[in-house]
Amino acid sequence: MIWLIVGALVVLAALGAPLFAIIAAVALFGFHAAGEPGAAVAIEFYRLADMPALIAIPLFTLAGYLLAESQAPRRLVRLTNALFGWLPGGLAIVSVCACTLFTAFTGATGVTLIALGAVLYPALRQAHYDERFSLGLLTCAGSLGLLLVPSMPLILYGVVAQQFHTTPPVSIDALFKAGLLPCLLMVVMLSVYSAWKARDLPRPPPSSAREVWAALKDAAWELPLPFVILIGIYTGKLAASEAAAATALYVLIVTVLVRREIKFGELPRVIREAMLLVGAILIVLGFSLALTNWLIDGDVPEKLFSALQAGISGKFAFLLLLNVFLLVFGMLLEGFPAIIILVPLILPVATHYGIDPVHLGIIFLANLQIGIFLPPVGMNIFIASARFNQPATRIVRASLPFYAILLAAVLIITYWPGLSLWLAR
């Protein structure tokens, strides 16, 4: 009987049933089997209203969507171009930096690809970057930034990981600090590759002081945002939820009242777009919380650990296996749900192998970042394919060198815990 249910759920999931319904069904059956009433699942789900850390998620997401909808992406590109455009590979580096900052805010890599791709792709082509490089770079750059404050996946990892009361604890602030250097590593590696690729391209002259000043003035309202958030969080002056609150209110006032780039009548639509994403994630999270307790009660992570330990003795072998596993799941599940579903299983096992839970979070996201645009079914391949009007196979071929670079970065991040933990601990 139980295998019949499991089989039916697997088939339904493969056919495209909403993930939350699958997880809720597992939770309902599981609680039933453990002799708990169905209302216990409702009570577990209701814990969503009892987690202060979650407040940051709708706030940051709304801020990101408002910025994406305004002219901020264009101003961001203008400013970074005025500052770095003259470097070898300047425009490519501009693209990487702009995409990273943008994804950090929206947490949605596909939105970055769509919003910034429209500006950057024609600009890259106009500056004589070849088509293949431009396509690969933008497809890959879209997923950067998941490790940078105030990324929503990092907050989600923190919320799920906190359920386990690990020592040392996983605070969201610590995760934000831990993500900075690994994110920087990826940006630098991509920038170096871009500069090397573009070594023969004609370089535009450095922007005049007047253009730099004009671009600065143009972006004056948005400019304080990354600095306030970064400095606020990295110095410990602002907690994640406070930074989110300040950002959301500020962005709302600037885009709607000061700049008026989003009309008041358009607000419900933009808010709805943002909350669609938040709702789709929170509902999965809610039932996973129920499932997590059930898994812990059933000692599932312990059993998984002893089963694994028979075959995998060392930390390094475990980490390697983890990398492969996360790449595949990141590809299948578009990042967010992978965190929500896999962390409860993997975190307890990983701590047994002596991996710091904060470091694990960074490993998780670094892998998912690649998984998002990994063939055959990584979501961003298809978003890029639609955005740039190119067949998916061409996007994949264009992305090949970028997989190699990011994989190298992921291996460094995985096997050098100090890179992540230096700022966090």
Partner: protein, 170 residues
């Protein structure tokens, strides 16, 4: 069609309710910081209210996600099915989601009625009974069940992306 009109009205109410609640959340959260940093004070009920707002806006967002078919799902296999098989898959998966949502709506109602009968005060506000903020759960899941059931027989809100990209000549 009057059914269509009442559905349209329901949508509009839903969109505006969502917008108002999210704006309330932003203003409350931002206001708390201004109050704390500049006036060294704060609203004691703001934090619990904000946590409830996260649940309410999340549920309304999830309900909207059913309408746009934006719920997180594996759509790998779907792309390779024939049109007829896709239709059947939609009925199966959305029918399943509708059934699960209906069950969840019922269990959430059970939870609510227990709190109602025992007049449990909410953790958020001492004077407010716990069942009032909980109403979003049975209402939200109930409406989601209804909407999933309707979508099971409707044409897809968007086509899976692979079909576009692979079959387009380069």
């Amino acid at each position: 069609m009057t059914l269509q009109r009442s559905l349209d009205n329901l949508r509009r109410i839903e969109d505006w309710l969502l917008a108002i609640l999210v704006l309330l959340l932003v203003v409350l959260a931002g206001g708390q910081i201004v109050l704390r940093d500049f006036f060294h004070t704060g609203i004691s009920w703001a934090d619990p209210l904000m946590r409830q707002l996260v649940l309410w806006t999340g549920m309304l967002g999830a309900l909207a996600a059913v309408r746009d078919e934006k719920h997180i799902a594996l759509d790998v296999l779907q792309r390779f099915l024939s049109p007829l098989a896709q239709k059947i898959a939609r009925m199966l998966t959305f029918g399943f989601a509708a059934a699960i949502c209906a069950a969840l709506a019922w269990y959430c109602y059970v939870m609510l009625s227990v709190d109602y009968a025992s007049a449990t005060p909410s953790s958020a506000f001492a004077s407010l009974p716990a069942w009032i903020p909980e109403t979003i759960l049975p209402a939200g899941f109930g409406l989601m069940a209804l909407r999933f059931a309707l979508r099971a027989f409707a044409p897809p809100a968007h086509t899976p992306p692979l079909m576009h990209s692979v079959e387009r000549p380069s």
